[in-house]
Symmetry: C2
């Protein structure tokens, strides 16, 4: 993911009126973004009879008709759009087609075009001489690394890939004996292990958070002063897994797992991923130094895995998390009752004092523009508080079930980790 | 890139007739590959009137018409296809469209569908009980890492991303004081820094080459015994660069550079990338331990950068390299005469004895199915040999201007590096 390094200022003489989106492939002039958040999409599709723009909640909640010019270019300009990353695609006479001008990102179980809408604060005329770098873009100074790591999973019978973020000074010679805590960070449904490093910009968010590079503007925007995050590793795995030999596997039949798939992912994570990470990196391999968080489906997985393994985890986060989503009936799985702090997840919340002394952070965030999700977050937080559970909540203003919410969640969540 | 871990055997009772390509997105049933190398493409496009399959040389040299069934599925099955990775796309009533069932790979200056055709040796019935793992697929045992590294380039005024392969034992505590040689490895025109790690499987090729994991079958296939490669880093950068302020830049007006773009890339590489790598990794930062190679356009860049900087490089490789491609007339660049070992590249080849004592390896490879390229490779090798230059040549049997040629080239080239 690249970010905007050109400023747009429609009122300044000679300034750029609009620029190609940073998510475009080289030389692609469209989509273009404007200083006020408008965005123009254009595609050349001479033979089509009907073309619509479709995409994520924050870009266009409904399909938007595009208009054809005499040369066969179909285009539309949207009103100012929520900043951050949005998936999109074209519906061409009923067929979903990506924009050849855009990079693709893995979402909706397939490669999908995406656009990065600049922060309006970044491009306002006041800031032309002193650009604000968003908390999710690279700053000057040292950077951590994102590493691609392959491991063979006996549980699934396949090679799997995860990404590992190591903090800026991890490879310094002076730190050769230093060990680090680990955050396991999961993507949502239809996405994969590339999501947090590309759409999510997790590496830049962690860099800026660890180094205290987020500006005072963002401190204000985020509702307070920015505290630095501890140095940590972040592991981003693929949330999908299936048992190689389903019939012969002895199931962990906990009602915590919403599906056999989540159960298999949990098994991979606990039995294969965590040991592989602890043997490959200089980790602090104990529960006090291990956290897990995830967005949407990954939030559901986070609750399932951590609450059945408090011997392994002490910090827990859900970002727009389908926290207590009741699973649909699944063959071979026990039925799942409605969420009840007294009994759900094996009764882990029943003794609030015991839970609060074990779990150093239970954190739930969502966006105010994802109405059902933020409402369910509020309800679940209230239920847990009523049961005596210590919990931190966060609502990202005006953002939907999209990556800008989850970038903000990570930026708020990471500085709270491993501070005990 | 994943590789085939299911075997196909059409003659064995109950065996799979075909499997979804490993390059498919999850749950996509098409394209499917067969044991004999046939491949079936299928896409649902009800309203289309004409759909053709188009793609790389080794898959379909010309567009292949697809047929529509009553449900609106368009499909075609190709005769046995050259193994390895091929780009492809659908031409739908004149519009180029990716296959929603495929992952995309960066090629042709845009995101493009790709398919991995299994090695026929891997899927023949004799081998069902003892699968052959190709030299470009993961083996059991330790693996190196592919790291994403961002750096700010003052020359271009932009953040740039490269990928860095570190060998399996690089992070072992016992190697904390060990330093490694570096191979700089470049992609071709229209591709980017992701090419070698995805289409090229460079990380697995290097793992297998360093650990001696290539099987005896492949030793035979590759024309001899497999020698292990030295442990080394491999740096894969983006080959495109433009000066931030072209008019004020003092040009390196060497006739070696085929374009201002290649000249700018060379400046980034020499002034920014190499110093960044040498300060971020435990490298052996001298010419004896620094190599460069590239495919196609990257081969042309390799010759331009290394032959004007023999103070920095001692090992040079071109894979289907546009080695001595004469540049088209470019504003602000001196004209480029035809290749002449006596005068080209500043006369670096004129004193063969001096060249041979400085350059420990000059290596050129190409595929026999890319006729013009392999012919020009033979001619250039002959010219250089006639001038007394020591040079190694390689021709990959039956492969075209595609990634299978370049995987084979890397597999042959890497074990020859840093052996002096």
């Amino acid at each position: 993911m690249r970010f905007y390094d050109q400023l747009i200022n429609e009122s300044a003489p000679g300034a750029l009126q609009s620029v190609p989106a940073v998510t475009n492939v080289p030389a692609a002039e469209y989509p273009r973004v404007y200083a006020d958040g408008r965005v123009t999409f254009r595609v050349h599709l001479s033979p089509a009879t009907s073309v619509q723009l479709e995409g994520g909640q924050g870009l266009c909640a409904k399909p938007v008709p595009m208009a054809r010019d005499a040369d066969g270019n179909w285009s539309v300009t949207l009103a100012p759009t929520v900043m951050g990353f949005h998936y999109y695609w074209f519906n061409v006479d009923g067929t979903r087609m990506n924009d050849p001008g855009s990079e693709t990102f893995f979402g909706y179980n397939q490669e999908t075009s995406g656009i990065e809408i600049p922060d309006p604060q970044q491009i306002s005329s006041d800031l032309v001489t002193s650009p604000v770098i968003p908390f999710y873009a690279p700053h000057d100074g040292p950077h951590g690394q994102l590493e691609e790591k392959w491991y063979f999973s006996k549980i699934t019978g396949r090679w799997r890939r995860c990404f590992v973020y190591t903090p800026p000074a991890y490879n310094d010679a002076g730190n050769a004996g230093k060990r680090y805590p680990v955050l396991y960070l999961q993507h949502g449904a239809g996405e994969n292990e590339t999501g947090w490093g590309r759409q999510g910009a997790a590496n830049f968010i962690m860099d800026n958070s660890i180094l205290g590079k987020s500006s005072s503007f963002f401190a204000a925007f985020l509702g307070g002063s920015i505290s630095k995050a501890k140095e940590m590793l972040v592991v981003m795995d693929n949330g999908y897994a299936t048992y190689e030999t389903p019939s012969s596997v002895k199931r962990n039949a906990s009602e915590a797992y919403s599906s056999p798939r989540t159960e298999a992912f949990g098994a991979v994570m606990v039995q294969e991923l965590i040991p592989m990470i602890d043997s490959s990196y200089r980790t602090l391999a104990d529960r006090d130094h291990r956290a897990m968080a995830g967005l949407s489906m990954g939030g559901n997985q986070t609750m399932a895995v951590t609450l059945t393994h408090l011997d392994l985890f002490s910090h827990i986060g859900t970002f727009s998390g389908a926290q207590f989503m009741r699973r649909r009936p699944q063959p071979g799985m026990p039925s799942q009752p409605p969420f009840d702090p007294g009994t759900s997840y094996g009764g882990v919340f029943a003794d609030a004092g015991a839970f609060n002394s074990k779990v150093h952070l239970l954190w739930m965030g969502s966006g105010t523009a994802e109405l059902a999700m933020s409402e369910s977050t509020r309800q679940n937080v209230a239920k847990l508080r009523a049961a005596g559970i210590k919990i931190t909540e966060y609502y990202s203003p005006g953002t939907a079930h999209e990556w800008q919410t989850w970038r903000l969640c990570l930026n708020k969540f990471a500085p709270l980790l491993f501070q005990a």
